[in-house]
């Protein structure tokens, strides 16, 4: 054992790291809270003969800031990194000492590093609250923009029905104009206000043109029904149950062909609305109809996010049979915050007759 110790000591005799075992004793903090000063404490041997200096800076910054340690109540020595400097991702520091009095031979005192070093300082991560970190990530995804103005227009044709010379369309158009603001006050993530106009014409029966309709009376109310509403306002809350899982709930107020009516819309979505996501939702508008949909969005093609939607609907009038819509969306986001979209699809209430859908959208984030 003694021999081993002799050998090890001989081998390590020249190692600089072991040369000093006194000086400044300081237990470094592992992390710090955002906006709170970091108080550093140290026990200093021979404190009267030297001055201990804290050198700190933001991680990766160039210039060091210096703070001299002071003794607290004849005990530990303390120095603090001010709260204004405690910012993410962190700060870094090292400690040094310098003799308080000049040396007897007149040579200027040399600064000695006591903990860490200027070349390899000690980093201290600055922690944000989980809520703040989530808000940062959400804002990063929206490029720091909280507001969005959005306009979308769509034309949906389920095919033209004819019988005994009567030709009655089964179609509608829809315009949505809305404004959204990302509150990021979790779980309330976003609020939206919007206006919707939806108008169309359909045969006055479940699927076919009603019996008795012909070319002379095809536009009468007995054969053709004007459906939808001119004015519909709505208010939507985007509730983020978790980061990446959100429920959008909408209440609608419409003035349709007959009276004032209510409506609602809900969408449960996992993922990023403008990117990769899966969504399941419904929309109900009194006397207009009900829709249910499933949507898969993918943003794996660079700069061109897309989505495929399968929708089951009886729009634009609840008297119509349930049909299916298969819709493909493609978007083109621009760095300015403008996002353009195009939509094509196929709509049918049975396998015999169907029609195309087409639409366009534009949104602007600011």
């Amino acid at each position: 054992m003694i021999i081993a110790r002799i050998i090890v000591v001989a081998a390590l005799g020249a190692l600089p790291g072991l040369a000093r075992a006194d000086g400044v004793r300081h237990v470094p903090p592992a992390d710090a809270d955002l906006g709170a000063a970091i108080e550093l404490t140290a026990q200093v041997a021979g404190a009267g003969a030297r001055t201990i200096v804290l050198h700190y800076r933001a991680q990766g910054a160039g210039r060091w800031n210096d703070v001299t340690f002071t003794q607290r109540d004849q005990g530990d020595w303390v120095a603090a990194i001010p709260e204004a400097a405690v910012l993410p991702p962190g700060v870094e520091y090292y400690l040094s000492s310098i003799a308080s009095a000049p040396s007897v031979d007149g040579v200027a005192a040399v600064e000695v590093e006591e903990f860490a070093s200027e070349q390899v300082p000690h980093p201290v991560g600055v922690l944000k609250s989980a809520r703040d970190e989530r808000r940062d990530r959400d804002l990063a995804r929206s490029h720091g923009r909280r507001s969005r103005a959005h306009l979308a227009a769509e034309y949906v044709d389920f095919g033209q029905r004819s019988s005994d010379g009567a030709v009655v369309p089964d179609r509608y158009y829809r315009i949505d104009l809305d404004f959204g603001y990302r509150l990021l006050a979790y779980p309330l993530e976003e609020i939206r206000f919007g206006y919707t106009r939806l108008e169309g014409s359909v045969p006055a029966s479940e699927r076919r043109v009603p019996d008795g309709c012909n070319s002379t009376n095809q536009d009468s109310p007995a054969c053709r029904v004007e459906a939808g509403f001119k004015v519909g306002g709505w208010f939507e809350l985007g509730l983020a149950i978790a980061e990446g899982l959100r429920f959008d709930g909408r209440g609608m107020f419409t003035a349709n062909q007959e009276s004032f009516a209510l409506g609602a819309r809900g969408e449960l979505r996992a993922g990023v609305a403008d990117g990769n996501h899966v969504a399941l939702g419904f929309e109900y508008m009194d006397q207009v109809g009900t829709s249910g949909f499933f949507r898969l969005g993918w943003a794996t093609v660079p700069s061109v996010p897309m989505a495929a939607t399968i929708e089951v609907t009886d729009l634009p009038n609840r008297i119509r049979a349930t049909g299916v819509r298969l819709v493909y969306d493609v978007f083109y986001p621009l760095p300015s915050g403008l996002r353009l979209g195009a939509r094509v699809g196929y709509s049918a209430r049975d396998q015999i007759i169907g029609g195309p859908s087409a639409g366009a959208s534009a949104s602007f984030d600011f």
Partner: protein
Amino acid sequence: MMLRPLRPLLLVAALALGVGVDHARADEVVGGQVVKVDQREIYVNLGEGRGVVDGATIRFKRPIALRHPVTRRPVNDWLPLGAGTVTDTGSTLTRVALDAELLGQVKVGDLAEIYVVRAEAASPPIAPSPTPTGPAQPMPELDPDTAQVLQVWRAITGASLEARIAAWDGWLAAHPSSRYAAAIRDDLAVLRATHEAMTPAGKRVAQRRLHVEHERPRRVAAGVPVALAFVLVEPAEVTAATLHARSVGQTTYRRVELTREHGIYLRGTLPAELVIAPGVEYFVEATRADGSTSEAFGTATGPVKVEIAPPPLVARFTLTKRRTKLSIIASYLDFATFDQRTDGGATVDRTDRFAQTEVDVLYRLDGLLYGVRAGFGAYGGRGGFAERIWTEDNPAPVTGFQYGYAEAELRFPVEGGPSIGFAGRFYAGVGRDGFGVGVAGRARLGDPDRTNLSVGVSGVEQLGFFTDMRLETWPGPTLPVGISVGVTDQPGNGDLGVRLATELGWRPRPWVQPTVRVSWQGRTATHSGVGAGLGLVFDW
């Protein structure tokens, strides 16, 4: 090579034992080997003829193969095991008594050495060979890094394993960025493994624990290295320290040498790859000058744990490559190609066929939910019966369906075996009778993108059902092959039929795969036909 390392140890040993070396006499170190190990004593192939006498002290050493820290050339060295006393000397063999601890360590083949004092005069010294004259060759200058490594190497030659480990640990703590550090780390791993193997469990004596002061992180971000600092409480007793870290759930730790600074500080970094949810665990082990170690902060069985929040759900939808798969499939099946039956010699219409086209997108997710798919399809068929004859008055029934579908596949990993997956699909569409729905399910054994075996069943209103068993394999790296056997009553809920199909694909690039399918299907031996299909898959 064997004798050169002996000199420093002999000198050290001689000094330690108070034995003077008298070079005026013909003293000799005679060497042999352990040839037999009994329960109480051992035998060495040295006898009276070599000058061995009863009562002499005999030392034992274990050969060890090392690499030179600078040249990396193989070097044979030895490790001291201990000493015993010669109890019985024969002509060629010597019996040696050992204490129980050493007896447990010494093995056949270990080296044995006895310092023999001879009475005869020493041989006249050999005259030194003449030194060649001429200009002296300048010795190459060593850089400080190399010089220090060689200094440690020379100092520990012939030393115990513990001393070697302590010396290199200490050197690494002070020189973590040396160009020799990687090689020394490798050598240390060998030394530690050897030490572990040579140390009987019962010999590991508990020593007083060493300590470090340390403030642990409260929260860390996943995937980011974490700088840690420790303050030695007993700096004089410690030569080096090691951080042992692992992700929560791992069974083994990774070693990270801590850099010693300013005498009392140890600094190191938790590697980013270990900093993953649900957390990272670590403890600090300090090495004393005698090579013994002590856990100084946390323990191997009770490490410090820093919890790491799992990535949010949105992270699973983060944009990455190879997430999306677009599939376009078209197929045509004829059940009556070979049905040549006539009615009174006249050709009859036994039309029985359907065609189907589907386009879908699969988005792959990590974890239990393997993927989500959305797709559109169109289906058209005519007939569906084996024995019916179609006429103008009784035309073949027409079936059609235009639909969309959504699918989710769960995948359960199986340790040591292929994963198991279950996929569920929901259809919504319109047929000739209006809106209809359907469902499908598939159980899969194996990776959906590699060799797998699956069983599926589907039922759609107005169309009928289809069930199949399918094997997909990759006989070549770019050649997927699929074989399936299916049973169906499509189109239009007709008679049962069987379909045998083979698919051959080709993946010339990782992102594209065209596929050809051929099939035979029939409802009876006579009512059968062929089918074909094409597919195109884009994977990006």
